[in-house]
């Protein structure tokens, strides 16, 4: 069961700042709701976990992330991840191409193209939800990412103080996700599509 997503998000920060954050794999993982890097194996290999809660039940995925390519000139990188849930009944793989494009001195765009594939129970029972879930997760990720970016200092203030970084979400709350999906779906039915 494969899902392909291609999205672009505006970010209120200079391209260099966004690119710097993008290369910090631990920070990036921290922006993914429910995800955490637990071990740095070497420069390009990491181990991590993703925890999903659905009411009283929770699912924990363990996996590896590999930074496959880094192109500093293009401000692009490629990440590959694979993981399995702790009961061994679901597997997931992800291939992500992420790029930062400058728009102007104070803003840029984060472009991502990813292919996510799930196997096992997650595919059998969750397959139908995947597209919606993936989009929601990505929206949360970008929101977290944007909050982590150092704010553009006021030209007048000039003291370079960074905006406070809110603590990253430790868990992926399934019910909140489902609610967000329902809300979005209703919006689509009755309103214009959001980018």
């Amino acid at each position: 069961m494969k899902v392909e997503l291609e999205k672009s998000f505006p970010l209120p920060a200079p391209a260099e700042a966004a690119w710097a954050l993008l290369q910090d794999v631990e920070a990036v993982a921290g922006c993914m709701p429910g995800a955490r890097i637990t071990e740095r194996v070497d420069a390009t290999h990491y181990k991590g976990t993703v925890t999903v809660r659905l009411g009283p039940a929770s699912m924990a995925f363990r996996g590896e992330v590999e930074v496959k390519e880094v192109d500093a000139a293009a401000r692009a990188l490629r990440l590959a991840g694979r993981g399995m849930d702790s009961t061994g009944t679901s597997g997931a793989t992800m291939d992500l191409h992420a790029r930062v494009e400058a728009v102007d001195a104070a803003s840029c765009r984060l472009l991502g193209r990813s292919e996510v594939s799930v196997s096992g129970k997650a595919a059998t029972f969750g397959g139908r939800l995947m597209q919606g879930v993936a989009e929601q997760v990505l929206q949360q990720f970008v929101a977290n990412f944007a909050q982590r970016l150092p704010a553009v200092p006021d030209v007048a203030a000039g003291d370079g103080a960074a905006a406070p970084v809110p603590p990253p979400q430790r868990e992926l709350n399934g019910l909140a996700l489902a609610w967000a999906m329902l809300r979005d779906w209703l919006r689509q039915l009755f309103g214009t599509r959001r980018a």
Binding site: M1, T87, G120, A123
Partner: protein, 801 residues
């Protein structure tokens, strides 16, 4: 000689053949006191839970049991490595292939068995199973059988990659299993070349699953003290399993006991030997305590014997009047990752060559190419004889296609092609000798009962108004009762069956047979056969099956073989006893055997009716000292029956459907089923079987499928998705019959329980397609779910005002 009413009274008392005798089995079931495998509890029993692969195709890099072993209640964790020392990590299948018991280095289908956790109760076992960590390296999966034999296809079965043959002839590709053909290809091709009209369709018989209400399971108990292995098992063929276990385990067959107790439905799903059974047995041997393994519903649908998955091409050649001159049917068979389809050595595609059906087709050729894919292994014969549903579906669909092409009425075209009564016994151009049949009166009776002409008129009126109404016909011949040992075997064991009868001094009888009821009512129907044969009341006749320690050897119950084979054995054994009783009677009455006549329940002297010996009296007499010179005491006999032929029950079914062109919903308005199973033993039980078989046909035709995504993930393997009809949508069935006894069967009986499934599927499918026939639709693949039928409506532009 008594008068008619007295004779009738004596016959009524026997409650023998032909009576709708209420079932002896019911007493325990209506009280909830059946003894199914999961009801069994033995002291010290452990519970086994399987760890299964989430991937359809993957290498196993490592298995870490440590967390599982540390889980409270967990006693052991078994993997392939633990089975290797006893060489049980692979096992032979009933299809001549081998299957992994626990995955050894790679998995080949999603939810394949990888490890078994043994624990003190089922909750601890489930906890333990969730803690086993398996490191997989995912491999690309083959899900489309048409891609199995591509040059660059991944090799699924590395274990047999070098083997040129897996039991059924040469292989041309590592993912190829066998190619089997029958008939005369040259003659068929010539018929097509010279024909006035030919038709061709690609016809899918999708992968479905028998889904009995009780899943598979076992309790295995090995005693270190005695060296005896006892296995309580959901098996439709306990003796075959015992023999296979002896071959596998090295334990002498005389020290293995397989017990089939009450089984909650089989429908073919409980014929194969599943890895869970083997691991539970090894676990019991290793731990020295009983081990219970019961699978979940999802595991059952996902990993146990599926059915069908035949991708067929049907071709018929005919003259301008619709008389079929040639037939070419080929099929690509998807067997999943291991071929575990019950296969006689000579018939790896089962009895597919019955596909000439009820018709006299002079030139025919059929071929089946079987391949591996990354799906569950199989298949099994889901409420049918081996591959007969596939065969009958093809011919009954294609004759409708031919009728539509020529504009000939679908009942009329069948009349024109039937094997006529005077042609029996009729040997088909694919080699089967149909022993008896009388197709025309059956069809006429059904058409009259439903007012066929009236229905066609109504259909024309509805079509003029843009409404969709369909009339489906199926006139099928089934081939059941496997079978003559010359042709029919499993792993070399002939498909005979047996009955052993012991008669007690006070007239009670115990009969044990080699078949295995899963709800068919054997305890009642076999008793009725023996009651009529022996002249003793059915209420005094106890029937037992399933305990291999007690029952004589048989091949079990599947493919409607119980009545044709074991029922014949029961008659034969009873007749041996009757012959001996006749000798005793003659001796006691001091007459010659030729002077005696049999009358319902006693031997009377010809011309001297007052002189008689009842069977009851002879039961006692056989245990006394007053017997003919040289005769041993006792009134017992055993018969091992090797049938001279299979049997050919047939039927004529009509189905009327109304299709909602806006939603695609199909409603079965009427279904009239006429079955001819030869001599009818218990009409009530027959009718119940017809209802059940038709309901399963309804399920297959209108909703069942096992879909996969491109990675081999199951997409509908629980009852959330898999269609099991409820009482609300199940139609009311009308049943009828004719009687054309089988000339070679001792009772003239043919077997019936699977005919309604085999005939029901094409009948309902034909009805749905007939609803669209006037719009040029020649075929639609099953299942005819509302979504899929709507897509056809949408394509035709008729789903809007």
């Amino acid at each position: 000689m008594g008068d008619m009413s007295e004779l009738q009274a004596r016959e009524d008392q026997l409650q023998g053949m032909g009576v709708s005798l209420l079932r002896k089995e019911d007493a325990r079931f209506i009280r909830g006191q059946g003894s199914y495998v999961d009801d069994i509890k033995l002291p010290g029993m452990l519970f086994g839970a399987l760890v299964r692969s989430p991937y359809a195709h993957a290498r196993i890099k490592g298995i870490d049991k440590s967390k599982a072993l540390a889980c409270p209640g967990v006693v052991a964790v078994l993997t392939a490595d633990d089975l290797k020392p006893v060489k049980l990590h692979w096992m032979p299948t009933l299809g001549g292939d081998v299957q992994a018991v626990l995955a050894d280095q790679k998995v080949c289908f999603q939810l394949q068995e990888v490890a078994m956790v043994l624990a003190s109760d089922r909750y601890a076992a489930a906890d333990g199973a969730a803690l086993v960590e398996v490191d997989y390296e995912e491999l690309p999966a083959i899900v489309d059988p048409k891609k199995s034999m591509a040059a660059d296809a991944p090799v699924i079965r590395e274990d047999i990659a070098e083997k040129k043959d897996v039991g059924h002839g040469p292989r041309t590709h590592p993912n190829h299993i066998f190619t089997w053909e029958a008939g005369n290809q040259a003659a068929a091709d010539a018929a097509f070349a010279g024909a006035a009209v030919t038709v061709r369709e690609e016809i899918l018989n999708p992968r479905v699953h028998p889904c009995p209400l009780e899943t598979c399971g076992c309790v295995a108990s090995f005693s270190k003290a005695t060296g005896n292995l006892t296995v309580y098992l959901t098996s439709q063929a306990p003796h075959i399993v015992r023999t296979v276990l002896a071959m596998l385990s090295g334990i002498p067959e005389s020290k293995i006991r397989v017990v089939g107790g009450d089984i909650g439905g089989g429908f073919g799903n409980k014929v194969p030997v599943y890895p869970g059974y083997v691991v539970a047995i090894v676990a019991s041997i290793v731990t020295g305590v009983p081990v219970k393994w019961i699978e979940s519903r999802i595991d059952n649908i996902s990993t146990t014997g599926f059915a069908r998955d035949y991708h067929g091409i049907g071709e018929l050649a005919a003259d301008a009047d619709g008389r079929i001159k040639g037939l070419r049917f080929t099929a690509l068979a998807d067997h999943g990752a291991f071929n575990s389809h019950v296969s006689a050595t000579k018939f790896p595609a089962g009895l597919f060559s019955i596909c000439t059906g009820s018709y006299a087709i002079p030139n025919a050729y059929c071929r089946v190419d079987a391949v591996y894919t990354n799906k569950a292994p199989g298949g099994v014969a889901y409420r049918c004889s081996l591959r007969v549903t596939e065969a009958v579906y093809l011919i009954e669909r294609m004759i409708d296609v031919l009728a539509q092409k020529l504009g000939i009425d679908k009942a009329e075209i069948r009349r024109r092609n039937f094997v006529q009564k005077e042609q029996f016994p009729y040997t088909t151009s694919l080699g089967w000798t149909l022993d008896s049949g009388d197709y025309v009166p059956a069809l006429e009776k059904v058409l009259k009962a439903v007012d066929y002409e009236g229905l066609r008129r109504e259909q024309a009126e509805k079509r003029a108004k843009g409404e969709l109404m369909g009339i489906g016909i199926a006139t099928f011949t089934e081939i059941v009762g496997a079978g003559p040992t010359k042709a029919c075997d499993i792993l070399g064991i002939g498909l005979f069956d047996s009955c052993e009868i012991r008669v007690h001094p006070t007239g009670g009888v115990i009969a044990r047979l080699g078949t295995m009821s899963q709800g068919q009512g054997h305890a009642t129907t076999y008793a009725q056969i023996i009651a009529t044969e022996l002249g003793l009341p059915a209420s005094d006749i106890v029937v037992e099956e399933g305990d291999t320690d007690k029952a004589p050897y048989g091949a079990g119950t599947w493919g409607s073989r119980s009545t044709p084979v074991a029922g014949a054995a029961a008659a034969k054994a009873a007749r041996k006893i009757k012959d001996k009783a006749r000798q005793i009677a003659a001796h006691l009455l001091e007459v010659g055997e030729g002077d005696l006549e049999w009358e319902v329940d006693r031997f009377t002297v010809k011309g001297n009716p007052g002189q008689a010996k009842t069977m009851k009296e002879l039961c006692m007499a056989a245990h006394t000292g007053n017997l003919p010179e040289g005769m041993e005491q006792g009134l017992n006999a055993v018969s091992y029956y090797d049938p001279p032929n299979l049997t050919y029950p047939f039927g004529a079914y009509v189905c009327v459907v109304d299709v909602d062109r806006f939603t695609g919903e199909v409603k079965v308005r009427r279904f009239y089923a006429l079955d001819d199973c030869g001599t009818r033993i218990n009409p009530m039980i027959i009718e119940g079987q017809i209802h059940g078989g038709l309901t399963e046909a309804f399920a297959v035709a209108l909703g069942q499928q096992i879909p996969f995504d491109e990675n081999g993930n199951h997409l509908g393997n629980s009852l959330m998705d898999y269609f099991l009809p409820t009482a609300v949508e199940t139609p009311r069935w009308e049943t009828d019959h004719t009687v054309t006894p089988s000339p070679h069967h001792p009772l003239g009986a043919k077997g019936v329980a699977e005919s309604p499934h085999v005939g029901g599927i094409p009948c309902i499918s034909n009805a749905v397609i007939d609803a669209f026939a006037h719009l040029g639709v020649t075929h639609m693949d099953m299942p005819h779910s509302a979504w899929r039928v709507w897509q056809q409506c949408h394509a035709l532009g008729i789903d809007r005002h």
